[in-house]
């Protein structure tokens, strides 16, 4: 399920380490793919852990949180990039936080108007997107340095990568913990749900196992690369 390619030289890094100084020359399409795979915010960069575990007990919540975060990432990326020449260096963090908080508030209100049940289930975790370090990280390290098109593509890629990871975790937790997917029962009435997976420790365990899987894939690649140095290239 998780065919996430892992870069060899990525020891649980922060966002900055990927883009030292200027971003590497790349197309918008490459920006999108990077967020989904090689620099996946959850599985590789370990950013935004609070929502990752707090809302991933059922798929609907994980999906909603992922899409709301994507909306904020794209919106803030667009505005940060658009005004990057006008935002003075001294007030840039404040300005970024202001832009992010605005989009979070918008996402919260739109969700309240369209899907009140999901918004109620997510509760304060929607406003908490502001404190998700992924957003400030992308604004500072990427959107503030590139043209609008690439900033939006990066926001979209990071957002989709975030949404995919959250959906994956919440699918595992909902199927095991409730025996259903998006509320539809999967197994017969004799299925005994593994309630543990719905509870907080199940969240830690699910992500722990996912990370072990990612590390295992990385380890395999490293071993293969050592044996045949030519074949061990990472699909970028």
């Amino acid at each position: 399920m998780t065919s996430v390619p892992v870069a060899e030289a990525a020891p649980a890094p922060g966002a900055q380490e990927f883009i030292p100084g200027a971003p590497p020359p790349a197309s918008a399409i490459a920006d999108i793919w990077r967020g989904i795979g090689r620099e996946n915010p959850v599985l590789v960069q370990l950013l935004g852990m609070c929502p990752t575990m707090a809302v991933t007990n059922v798929l609907a919540n994980g999906l909603a949180m992922g899409l709301a975060t994507t909306f904020v990432l794209v919106g803030s990326g667009l505005f940060v990039s658009l005004f990057r020449k006008y935002i003075a260096n001294e007030v840039r963090i404040t300005s970024y936080i202001l832009i992010i908080a605005t989009f979070v508030t918008l996402a919260d209100m739109l969700l309240a108007a369209t899907f009140p049940d999901i918004r109620k289930a997510l509760g304060p975790f929607i406003p908490l997107i502001v404190a998700n370090c992924l957003l400030l990280g992308r604004a500072e390290a990427f959107a503030a340095k590139v043209p609008v098109k690439r900033a939006v593509a990066d926001g979209l890629g990071m957002g989709l990568g975030f949404t995919l990871s959250l959906s994956m975790l919440s699918t595992i937790r909902e199927v095991l913990g409730k025996g259903s997917i998006l509320g539809h029962p999967l197994f017969g009435p004799r299925f005994e749900p593994w309630v543990f997976m719905m509870l907080p420790p199940g969240g830690f365990l699910a992500l722990g196992i996912a990370l072990l899987g990612v590390a295992y894939v990385g380890e395999l690649r490293k071993r293969r690369a050592r044996r045949a140095p030519v074949a061990g290239r990472v699909a970028a």
Binding site: P124, A131, G202, F204
Partner: protein, 192 residues
């Protein structure tokens, strides 16, 4: 109806901010290499949480009563400023304390536990005193969780762990076990 001891026990143990509500995970995973740093960070957090509870109460009562839609922005801006001011004040007047806690203060600004406290305090409509108790319980709960995690991690340093688990995998599995242990507190204060 909502008595203070229940709020305190509930936030510190039953609904522990870190292990049950998943708030402040960044510092939980990032700064729990050593017990010494962990509990100091926990205390610095408690300090900022109590200050946040006070400022949020002031904001909610006098500023945001008519404009609830500005909450998110107001909270994040006020929290950032409060931490900044506290940092400057502590540095100037309590240099000894600053040397022990100071370096953690900037780390706390972007900690979701602080914003989480502000949001939960608001959505539950806590009064001033209830808010203070809530902040104190949350802070001590964080301190307990951080110290426990750090003391376990100190021990795993010396053990032979498979290569794949050496980074975050093992830490998350430990967190899962700790969280499971804290589930045992559920029902405390209400059973009977």
């Amino acid at each position: 109806m909502r008595d203070l001891s229940w709020i305190f026990i509930s936030t510190m143990l039953v609904n522990n901010f870190t292990l049950v509500m998943f708030l402040g995970l960044c510092s939980f995973f990032g700064v729990t290499g050593k017990v010494e740093t962990a509990w100091r960070l926990g205390l610095a957090n408690t300090f900022v949480l109590v200050l946040t509870a006070v400022s949020v109460w002031v904001l909610n009562t006098f500023v945001l009563a008519q404009t609830p839609y500005l909450r998110t922005i107001a909270f994040i801006v006020v929290i950032a400023s409060v931490v900044q001011i506290v940092e400057m004040a502590v540095k100037k007047y309590l240099p000894v304390l600053f040397r022990q806690l100071g370096i953690y203060l900037p780390l706390i600004t972007t900690n979701c536990a602080i914003l989480g406290l502000a949001l939960f305090q608001t959505s539950r409509g806590y009064t001033f005193v209830e808010g203070l108790v809530f902040a104190l319980g949350a802070g001590l709960g964080l301190t307990v969780a951080l110290s426990l995690m750090a003391s376990i991690r100190e021990r795993t340093e010396l053990s032979d762990v498979p290569a794949v688990a050496r980074r975050m995998g093992l830490v998350l599995v430990i967190a899962s076990c700790l969280s499971m242990a804290f589930m045992g507190f559920a029902g405390m204060g209400t059973a009977g």
